[in-house]
């Protein structure tokens, strides 16, 4: 390999802040990537959007009280899920409307709380991420919470997949679909906590949707889906942070933009539903037909 290219790739990691940014981004990305496979296949992407926004008041309150962000975020993330379920049950309005009402209201509450706190510099960090300036406590939080989520999802992956595919069969053989749904939603609340450190609240939903949606264009088996989702996300994290370092652009933005690029490539060239594949198949059919 060209020595200058190698230098370009390794030089950023001479800096402690880049090492820490990389660690946080990788752990958060992997947790998001695993979770996103189920969210996308179950049609729960909007839930990811909702929970990621709904944690803002929790984070703000935790900040004011000097508690770990994870605590406040988890409380409000789980609270938002319960509230959405409650609103639906009480009013019978449709799911997307219930989600829309609850998460925007909680997000607004967060903005109001932040606006009355003395310093608002951290609001920028919560909304857009501050991965180049994470503290030791933040790193510890991301590693612990992200680690728990990853292990739980991997251990339960076959049951979660069965519940996503055929909840009726899962129920009939004695599994508990509701409990597994609750596990997924709990994992969602916790994952949001890790991801907002990396890319901020606004872009968390991208990390929760794009990897799983991209992998679905490629893989036909669940384990391959997980591998593609994680693989894409790791490459995007590395490439995004590298671009952020050399081009002096927003790291969260660069990571998500790279994921979006990966989705575009899969859309064009993915073996399962890629446009190129469909086009050549259609052409073959046309040739055989004619």
């Amino acid at each position: 390999m060209d020595a200058t290219l190698l230098d370009a790739l390794t030089a950023p990691f001479a800096y402690g802040f880049m090492q820490r940014a990389m660690l946080v981004t990788l752990v958060a990305s992997i947790a998001c990537a695993l979770l996103s496979t189920w969210l996308v296949q179950m049609g729960w992407s909007l839930m990811g959007d909702a929970v990621s926004h709904a944690v803002l008041p929790g984070v703000a309150i935790a900040y004011i009280l000097g508690l770990p962000f994870a605590l406040g975020a988890a409380a409000f993330g789980i609270g938002a899920v319960a509230l959405i379920g409650g609103v639906r049950a009480a009013t019978r309005i449709k799911a997307d409307a219930a989600i829309g009402v609850v998460f925007t209201t909680l997000f607004a509450l967060g903005l109001v709380i932040v606006s009355v706190t003395p310093s608002d510099t951290d609001l920028q960090h919560i909304l857009f991420g501050n991965v180049l300036g994470v503290s030791d406590a933040d790193i510890a939080q991301v590693l612990i919470v992200g680690g728990i989520v990853c292990v739980a999802l991997l251990v339960l992956r076959r049951d979660l997949t069965l519940v996503a595919f055929d909840p009726g069969h899962a129920h009939a053989i004695g599994l508990r679909p509701r409990l597994l749904h609750a596990v997924l939603l709990g994992a969602l609340a916790l994952t949001v906590v890790t991801a907002l450190q990396a890319v901020g609240i606004i872009l968390v939903v991208a990390m929760l949707v794009i990897p799983g949606a991209t992998a679905a264009l490629i893989a036909v088996r669940w384990d391959a889906l997980l591998a593609w989702s994680v693989g894409i996300t790791v490459v995007a994290a590395l490439a995004g942070l590298m671009a952020a370092f050399w081009l002096d652009i927003s790291p969260g933005g660069a990571v998500v933009l790279t994921q979006g690029l990966a989705f575009g490539l899969a859309l064009l060239f993915g073996p399962r539903r890629g446009l190129a594949m469909r086009w050549s198949r259609a052409r073959r059919h046309a040739l055989h037909g004619g």
Binding site: R158, L162, F165, H169, A172, G174, R221
Partner: protein
Amino acid sequence: MSGADALERMRDPSAHDAIVAEGLGVHYGEVRALADVTVRIRAGEITGLVGVNGSGKSSMLAAVLERVPHTGSVRILGRSPAQARRAGLVASVPQAEAVDWDFPVTVRDVVTTGRYGRMGLLRIPRPADRAAVAEALELLGLAHLADRQIGELSGGQRKRAFVARAIAQDAELLLLDEPFAGVDRSSEAAIVEVLQGLRERARSVVIVHHDLSGVAELVDRVLLLQRGRLLHHGPPAETLTPERIAEAFGAGRASGRVDRAGEA
């Protein structure tokens, strides 16, 4: 004490029945989907649950499995539904509309989920599980399609895959929701053969069916449902009389059905 228990169990006739339902009812909000159905479905037989769409067939299956809140009581093979499910006694074959055919699973993956109840927490198949899956795929003629994504199969092959899952599970009671809808003749014949084979091995089968074609030849008993009520239960020749068919399926006009329901 234990002697008395054993005696009680011997006296409990529900142990010889696949399903015993007493006063079974299902409501969705204001809508009554199933009302006060009391019936014994015998073990070792094939029973057809027959009626028009909305007559309560699928609701009855859901209530038996306790997938929906219900009134009344259900026993499955002499146990509570929860016990029967945890023991892996019940297999369910969903109707095609309930399945996401785009889902990233292969045919073998689907059939393997039939064995999950016998596997550990990580659901790693043991050799016995792999053998049972291979055998079930072979039985339903799907061995050569095992590594295809489930949606790549034809309607009949898809249905055979779900029957193969129930076979791999080795359940005592199979509940099939519209197993012949959208299915080609050869697949239908293959499924019928498998179900008859199960009956020979004293397994119980309940089939939900929305029309009458082929029912009389296949099933031992028919449960005729109309507007959530049990119209009749008995052997096909006795149950499927022209009068009852007219009542359950209407004379072809919705108004006629409404009038009849008003009388009932």
